[in-house]
Amino acid sequence: MELQKHITDATTEIFETMIMLEISAGDPVVEKINNFKCSVSGVIGLAGTCKGILAIHLPDKVAMSITGSFLGMEVTEVDDDVTDAIGELANMVAGNIKMILDEAGKDVTLSIPSCVHGAEYTLDTAADCERVVVPFNLESGQFLVELQVKN
């Protein structure tokens, strides 16, 4: 429940402050989602005393919509601007989560953002992880924010 709240608060703040798109969080996704089609995923590794990943998964259409609003320009394909923007979005969510974990006594180091995109790809969950996936809805569709923390 706490992780869900942190994800929701961090993501909402970024959209309200810098992306200027209205989003609403849904109930956490229980089923395993690891296969993505025509999508973009921004991934940040968490290391230190709290290991895991923070990932944002977006259908191409949603990724282009968010990038367009982020940069204030029209985006018509998944290009370097889109992968960079989604990596930075993941970075900002992860930075916020890191601060919360650090305040709770953890010592977390963040990796440089990575971005995966393509017609179809699979991102597998690490074993023995607490996993929270929060869906967010906006006009152009839905995206997922996933936090995996190793137990």
Binding site: E13, L71, D84, A94, N96, K98
Partner: protein, 123 residues
């Protein structure tokens, strides 16, 4: 020569957004220069003069902390104020940046007004 600012961030998205925020905040820079990491910034500062530097912390190649460490050893650039713009807004990280000479910090996500408030006192 008018006022010039250098933005250091590995994300091209963030460099664009910081540039836009400076304009939206009404900060009057005549030229905005960009570098993708600390080393690229140090190389650029060998030939370019700037009045202010805005730098990310978490970057590949040379991060923002190492940039601060090396910059303060170079007489020609050691007095240029640096404001850190970072997702890592924890007190320990901001404290370390200040010890290394950072003049201020802005946590991402930010609004243009926040940039204006922090930079207003420095330019």
């Amino acid at each position: 020569m008018g006022k010039r600012v250098l933005i250091i961030d590995d994300s091209s998205t963030m460099r664009k957004i910081v540039s836009r925020s400076l304009r939206q905040a009404g900060l009057d820079f005549d030229e905005i220069l960009e570098a993708a990491d600390g080393q690229e910034a140090l190389d650029l500062l060998k030939t370019e003069k700037v009045d202010l530097i805005l730098s990310d912390i978490n970057m590949p190649n040379m991060d923002g902390m190492e940039f601060l460490r090396q910059k303060r050893e170079i007489d020609a650039i050691k007095d240029i104020p640096v404001v850190m713009i970072t997702t890592e807004g924890g007190a320990d990280i901001i404290g370390e940046a200040k010890e290394l000479g950072a003049a201020g910090s802005v946590k991402k996500p930010f609004k243009p007004e926040t940039i204006s408030d922090v930079l207003g006192a420095l330019i």
